[in-house]
Symmetry: C3
Subunit: 229 residues, 3 copies
């Protein structure tokens, strides 16, 4: 583990490090955009929009940092991510689609953030010295966490749970597991990481495009009501 960590640290000083940082930043911006678009749909004001964008963009990483004991979390010490989130919210405030058309872009940004974060989250956790399976789990939590915070704060059932939402947790798990495998076999480079992120994003977007649904538990009746009592 320690040896793997050294290798990792060396790798992270090189091109991987830059790619990793760019990936994190793009993930933050994508999730901030998805949060800001939900804020548009919910008619929030500019400050509510900023809070929701930042919670979405930084929430997953903060949870991951708490879980690996990195305090204070990077989002509070490196203000780049916060500024990127705020800027994104500002751009969306002035430039956004008609409210009824926010759904599509929201899902695309969410998918991009999901794919990037499951890769970078896994790599950050692994670099802290945890085992590959733990790193994959933490990466998955990083990827899913921000979206759950966004949906709960916005008063919606989280996307990761909704049956009308095509596969969501599976692409995140796939990307995180792929990254953990790459890290374990010392083959996590800029392009392999990017490939894993791209595959996860593509998986999620294809699931949406073609409506790949997971099976639901057998229903006893034909009734469609959501909350029976």
């Amino acid at each position: 583990m320690i040896a793997g960590l050294d290798v990792m640290a060396t790798q992270l000083d090189s091109a991987v490090n830059a790619a990793q940082r760019i990936g994190e930043l793009l993930g933050v911006i994508s999730f901030a955009a998805s949060g800001a678009l939900l804020a548009v749909r919910k008619n929030l004001d500019i400050f509510g929009m900023a809070v929701l964008a930042c919670s979405t963009a930084l929430g997953g990483g903060v949870i991951r940092d708490l879980l690996i004991g990195r305090t204070p979390p990077a989002a509070f010490t490196d203000l780049t991510y916060l500024c990127a989130s705020l800027l994104t919210a500002l751009v969306i405030f002035f430039k956004h689609p008609s409210r009824r058309l926010t759904r599509g872009p929201l899902e695309v940004f969410d998918a991009i953030g999901l794919g990037l974060f499951c890769v970078t989250g896994t790599a950050v956790a692994y670099a802290q010295g945890v085992g590959a399976p733990t790193a994959a789990l933490l990466g998955m939590v990083t990827a899913i966490g921000g979206g759950v915070i966004r949906d709960v704060l916005g008063g919606e059932v989280p996307r990761v749970l909704r049956p009308d939402q095509e596969l969501y947790a599976v692409p995140a798990l796939f990307g995180a597991a792929a990254t953990a495998t790459l890290l374990h076999f010392d083959t996590y480079w800029a392009w392999t990481g990017l490939l894993a992120a791209g595959l996860a994003i593509g998986f999620r977007l294809l699931a949406r495009r073609y409506g790949w649904h997971a099976p639901q538990a057998r229903r006893d009746t034909g009734r469609l009501d959501r909350s029976p009592d």
Copy 2:
């Protein structure tokens, strides 16, 4: 404190340790079942079910581990608990009561998890060297936390708050306080811990069976609406 910790550590190497672990595993399985049953009621698909079952089963322990500074939390390093949760979700997926009849089993599993977690949660916190009152509080949070996560993610008001729910926090507090007392007087053995858990579970189930309700704040009007504005 340190002396007490040593005694604790010695105890935990023995039969108590095994009982503790079995108790935790049974608590995880019970909470996973309650999460999976809520997923059935909400018509979630198999992955939403797995996510809700794991969040419920592991959430309380993860919060406790964060609060006592044990990072990464046990749920991420010891994958037994995760596998047990996933297996439970899979079993419930194929074998569950009719949706309108999920409520009863959900409550029973929730009560079993509540009773087991308030005991094991208190013991784990105490073994980390905190004082008995702090350990009892942390145990109560462990027991209540998973259910709160389940209910918030599922879009319900948490059971611990609902007035139509018979006493919920009180059995958890009772079990946690009893365990802290046992630990403080070095009388926490396998059977005393089991007894405390059994009493907490019985307390909760009896409260449900006989509709023991706590008093509500005086109402000024006879109106029954829940959210006046």
Copy 3:
């Protein structure tokens, strides 16, 4: 930073320390009152009320302590805060306005808690050795966190997001930034801290009184529905 920390530590042993503690206690009581009043409005029973009051009063501080790595959080080791929250809930249980009139007092208590916590939260974080901007962010999270927990558990969209709520995050950010500035220039004394808290509270209350609203994103249609799909 270390030098600043020493200065801080010396200051905190003196009058500032007492003022800081009184401010925290008053903040806890105010937030507990706001949580208990929401519980009255939601018809919760006495235990639900106690849980909601404690979550609101202690939640923000617990999140801050987790973020700065202070485990277990103060709320679990120094039981003064818990007892103050429970006493407040008990007082509100017996003595509260008619349910339809809870809204006004709830907002006033919330504003007092918000103003006090953004100051004390920033000071606690700064005393742990983080930089001034990080301390301000952590103070803002402390101030906002408890209210978000209260609103999410109570099944409402958090006040910090709601557009019908006059400026909320801005007074908290203002108070936290002012405190961080005071701390940075070694001018954080009992009266300057109190002034910052008073200004933040006054800012929030004036925003409410005079209906200062932040701009919302341009609406394409005149439709007022909140959740279009």
